[in-house]
Symmetry: C2
Subunit: 199 residues, 2 copies
DNA sequence: TCTAACTCGTACGTTGATGTACGAGTTCTG
DNA sequence: CAGAACTCGTACATCAACGTACGAGTTAGA
């Protein structure tokens, strides 16, 4: 591997255009998953033809946008301290990531309609892995439950963030309350349930 | 109000066609939210023109399908015993409703793209009300938490069912485990959290 | 400065879905 | 059984988005 994507010797100019296009794509698709190629080009302040000069079709554009969003997410996430008490670490993780999930919800939906299913999973593996490791550590320390499948726990956490974002968009939840609500819910979900006769 | 929908004196024949169309719409849209009017007509074993004879446009067809799905849901739900311990009642409610949510997830998405936002909320009010009342009762009895907004709790429960359905479709969760996983998660979410210093 | 890379408008061909028009055949229902 | 209601195919008009073709102008960079 020489670099991230093997470079076909692009001009600095083109590099800039591509960056603007990807940024515009993220922004547009995050607001409306059905945004047109035209919309995106306009938002990028670029002709549609220029766009097609860099991305052969809409699908690859969507994938590029999603990849970029995930890359940014990775950066943010990797700066979170996941040491110490697993519960506290989870809270910190949620506080930094709920807004990311909120912003790219629509983008994810756009990708779902265009990308093959496996491709999506592959792209999502990294962030999911991060959450999974933390949960696993908490399980080892006895602070998180072990009676439900790991994939479920990860997915449920993700969905709770998603739900909170939806709630905020709908105006039923103030922005400053989102973090509290999400963390409280997730902590309840992950905590070891009180032992008791099978209910 | 004379009846459900004021009747313009339809023939028994037409009534039957409409029923088949609505059923087909539910089935198709539940598999693919972007199903074509054509697809639906074919699935109903009916010409596209017949369909347009009863529904002026796609949007009204989608709405009819959703309304029907919710009506069926109401019927099932209203047969659930919501008396006794609130936790047990919630478990019974979840066991009967998770599959409904699973089946009409795509249908809901279809409606989201076509119906005005307020219309959706109005249609969903009834089932949401049912869950809300049960939660409220549990809160009064001290078995459910009161530290989070009611709308959030309702929405979170709905989303957990949704997540479980997704998990099953993806093959990461066996059908017979869904109910257990959902109920365990929801019970954890709704239970009164152990008192403790603000974490 | 000279050339290759890049920008970008206009125009076109294609595809796929929506909804309309017409009209002939079929089936209720009074 | 007669007429109204219903079915339904074919054909058509529309529309919106995708992706391609061409070509002239502009800019980077050796």
């Amino acid at each position: 591997m020489s670099s991230a994507t093997h470079r076909p010797r692009r001009r600095a100019d083109a590099e800039r255009s591509i960056a603007r296009i990807v940024a515009a794509a993220r922004s547009c698709l995050s607001r409306n998953p059905d945004a047109t190629v035209d919309d995106i080009a306009k938002a990028a302040g670029v002709g549609r033809m220029t766009l097609y000069g860099h991305f052969p079709n809409r699908a690859e554009l969507v994938e590029a946008a999603l990849t970029d969003a995930l890359r940014i997410g990775e950066e943010t996430l990797s700066s979170v301290d996941v040491g110490g008490d697993a519960r506290d670490a989870m809270t910190r993780l949620l506080e930094s990531s709920w807004s990311l999930v909120a912003e790219s919800a629509a983008l994810l939906q756009a990708a779902q309609g265009v990308l093959p299913a496996g491709r999506l999973l592959a792209l999502h593996a990294a962030p999911a892995e991060r959450v999974e490791q933390l949960i696993r550590r908490g399980q080892g320390e006895g602070t998180f439950r072990t009676d439900l499948p790991m994939t479920w726990l990860v997915n449920a956490v993700h969905n709770l963030m998603h739900a909170a974002a939806e709630e905020e968009r709908a105006g039923r939840l103030a922005a400053e309350d989102v973090a509290r609500v999400v963390t409280a819910s997730v902590q309840s979900l992950l905590a070891v349930p009180p032992a008791g006769p099978a209910r």
